[in-house]
């Protein structure tokens, strides 16, 4: 069964460092998302991506964040200068059509120290 895969599963980084979280969406999907969940809090939308551009982003997704689909299979989230409050589980998701279910990866736990 096709699945969304995310690497690494856990990333520890020092405050101020850049991190890149990687995702391989399901191969024939067209819509891509990043969400995050801070420990004990709700799942929050960060950004959606369609047709090689950002289609929607939340207030969380400020200038420190960027996304890229560099090679037609990977979908990456970059945080330029990490802050302590960026510590969270980051989930990548993809869906085939605009109004169908999104399938989520297992997440990357980002810990900023």
């Amino acid at each position: 069964e096709p699945e969304v895969t995310q690497t690494p599963s856990h990333q520890v980084t020092q405050m101020g460092q850049e991190v890149i979280l990687r995702c391989v969406p399901i191969s024939n999907h067209l819509y891509f998302y990043w969400y995050r969940q801070i420990l004990g809090q709700k799942v929050e939308f960060l950004v959606s991506f369609y047709n090689n551009e950002i289609s929607e982003k939340s207030e969380i997704f400020d200038d420190q964040f960027s996304v890229e689909r560099p090679d037609g299979s990977n979908f990456t989230l970059k945080i330029r200068s990490t802050k302590l409050e960026d510590s969270a589980m980051y989930f990548c998701a993809s869906s085939g059509e605009a109004n169908t279910e999104a399938f989520f990866g297992q997440g990357t736990r980002l810990t900023v120290v």
């Binding site: 969304v4 995310q6 998302y33 969400y35 809090q41 709700k42 799942v43 929050e44 939308f45 959606s48 289609s55 929607e56 939340s58 589980m89 989930f91 998701a93 605009a98 109004n99 169908t100 279910e101 999104a102 399938f103 989520f104 990866g105 297992q106 997440g107 736990r109």
Partner: protein, 111 residues
Amino acid sequence: DQQVKQNSPSLSVQEGRISILNCDYTNSMFDYFLWYKKYPAEGPTFLISISSIKDKNEDGRFTVFLNKSAKHLSLHIVPSQPGDSAVYFCAAKVDGQNFVFGPGTRLSVLP
């Protein structure tokens, strides 16, 4: 501004009985609704969805009911099993926009 609300943070149910998880929303533009199940340290797993043109969708032990006039949906699990113990998220979307998640309800199914 919580567009999707799950007012019960937790629910305990005896194995074999029905679990009813509730969700309310405020945005009348939402036209697609989903339920996800999440285990600790894993990503949300899609369970079942319903379009706004329907009021019920069933898949095995899972049934979702939508009451558009009340802006309310519910997930029924019958019969509940211990493996159903997880956090359940209600999500909603407007066509072409992102999925908005509720805060989740932790379901515990007791043997």
